[in-house]
């Protein structure tokens, strides 16, 4: 199996608020643990230390922690002298040894925790390390990483359901995200409303089609059965089984062609172009594969349980900017700066 090492995020740096660290390393690192505590979120994570090294000249200590099966958190401690005082900086970044959705989800969750969960504590007893740190959230990166986390989870569900490796990159185009979401809804929700402009469906030229396509020129509810629906996600075709597509206010676009083809009644397939006047359709996937019952494991379950707190934290952080954009102004000034320009 091919693996790649990919640094997921730029290093996240902060000055240490309080803390101590030994000036020497233990002889072996086996069985040492690192503990990350996020008191505001009432969450703590413990993971094995896999490597430690120290560069005495530059007063730098590096600790590698295996936080999940393919994700290593690298913690760098740097001592420096500032204004005659010894100070310490700590930086975190993550290495992803397998470009799987799970690894992206784990790294993105931890990164978002560091940014959004307030002051955190890092403890490595073997190093005599006990630090309190608070990171300043670089909002654009937090926002992007939260989105990666959201998409990575959906991909995890799809990968697990189809037992396939799909993730190649952490950055997706809108169209990729749409396809991922579509398949995720098919697996998890089974029935959902989705944007629908127009699509082509094959019909045989027979009596049954004649009946179905009766009144083709008028908008009506079009309920279409698709025997085998396949959705393309990141270049792989995923079978979702039988689909029922219900188009409210559906109209048929190629009426003249249909009239000609149906008149033959020779059983040959011809394309029917159906358009939705409301721009949506309800998709039902009664036979789509289901997510296997097996649990994700403790770490992932814990990370999923943090959804609500992370969502609230990012919303409140960004919402503060919205409030700030009028915060210092009188009511009259607010009205003035939010008035739409007039050109006449």
């Amino acid at each position: 199996m091919q693996t790649v090492t990919d640094t997921l995020q730029p290093e996240t740096m902060a000055s240490v608020l309080t803390g101590t660290v030994n000036s020497s390393l233990p002889e072996q690192v086996q069985e040492h643990k690192a503990e990350l505590v996020f008191p505001v979120f009432h969450y703590a994570l413990s993971a094995p230390v896999v490597e430690m090294f120290m560069i005495a000249d530059s007063r730098q200590t590096t600790v590698k922690v295996a936080v999940d099966e393919a994700v290593t958190m690298i913690c760098e401690l740097k001592g420096k002298r500032l204004n005659g005082k010894d100070e310490m900086e700590v930086g975190f970044y993550f290495e992803n040894a397998a470009d799987r959705a799970r690894a992206s989800f784990v790294a993105a969750t931890l990164q978002c925790l560091l940014w959004l969960a307030g002051p955190m504590k890092l403890r490595i007893p073997a190093l005599g390390l006990d630090l309190e740190v608070e990171f300043t959230a670089p909002l654009e990166e937090v926002n992007q990483t939260m989105h990666i986390r959201h998409v990575a989870y959906r991909l995890m569900v799809i990968e697990r359901t189809f037992d396939q490796k799909l993730a190649r990159s952490l950055l997706f185009f809108d169209a990729d995200v749409d396809r991922i979401s579509f398949v995720y809804h098919a697996i998890v929700d089974r029935s959902f409303v989705w944007p629908f402009f127009q699509a082509q469906f094959p019909f045989p030229a027979n009596e049954q089609s004649l009946d179905i396509l009766k009144g083709a020129d008028r908008p009506s509810v079009r309920r279409l059965n698709v025997a085998h629906y396949e959705a393309d996600v990141l270049g792989k075709s995923l079978p979702l089984g039988r689909a029922i597509v219900v188009i409210e206010n559906g109209v048929i676009v190629n009426i003249e062609e249909i009239g000609r083809e149906l008149g033959r009644l020779d059983g040959r397939e011809f394309p029917v172009l159906i358009k939705s006047l409301t721009g949506t359709a309800t998709y039902e996937f009664p036979d789509a594969p289901r997510l296997p019952e097996t649990k994700w494991g403790k770490r992932i379950e814990q990370f999923l349980a943090l959804d609500g707190q992370l969502d609230e934290a990012i919303f409140q952080t960004v919402n503060r900017l919205a409030a700030l954009s009028l915060a210092d102004l009188s009511e009259e000034e607010k009205a003035e700066v939010t008035a739409r320009p007039r050109f006449e």
Binding site: L139, E140, N143, M146, H147, R149, H150, V151, D174, P195, F197, K275, S276, L277, T278, G279, T280, D311, I314, F315, V318, N319, L321, A322, A323, L324, S325, L326, A327, D328, L329, E333, K334, E336, V337, T338, A339, R340, P341, F343, E344
Partner: protein, 151 residues
């Protein structure tokens, strides 16, 4: 459907209207990101500050601070740019409206056209005007999704 904010909804958010904040929070949970802004919405929001600053005799630190907050919010939300295909949609719509409608809806036409060109719907309070615009769309982009975010 992914959404871009009309100027009225963006202003409601800045005014911290509870129903708008709730809609934005719900949207973010569903899509994993905040709704986008169209370049025209950003223009209108920036014009408000520039218009005030241009009339001020001296630098007003309060205005600068608030403007910075808005700029951060714009950068974070992401902007849908006005591209060549946007102008084609906007021209199609404009040509099919009356002169007075065209004048009155100039900004909304570009908000709708930009959203359509990028495959987005529009979150607005202004149902009537956007439905009017929605009646004059080109055949290739004949459906404008609207989310009406009113209290």
């Amino acid at each position: 459907m992914r959404l871009a904010l009309d100027s009225d909804v963006f202003t409601d958010w800045r005014y911290q209207k509870p129903h708008t904040m709730q809609q934005i929070q719900d949207y973010r949970k569903r899509f994993g990101r905040f709704p986008r802004l169209t370049a025209m919405t950003v223009f209108e929001a920036r014009f408000g500050f520039e218009n005030k600053i241009a009339k001020s005799p001296s630098v007003d630190e309060r205005l600068e601070r608030d403007r910075q907050g808005m700029e951060d919010l714009i950068r974070l939300s992401g902007v849908l740019e006005i591209e060549e295909r946007t102008t084609a949609i906007a021209a199609y719509i404009s040509a099919r409206l009356s002169q007075s409608e065209r004048n009155r809806l100039r900004a909304d036409i570009f908000i709708a056209a930009t959203s359509l060109a990028h495959g987005y719907g529009v979150a607005t309070r202004n149902q009537r005007d956007f439905e009017l615009i929605g009646q004059h769309l080109p055949p290739q982009r004949s459906i404008l999704h609207l989310a009406i975010w009113k209290p």
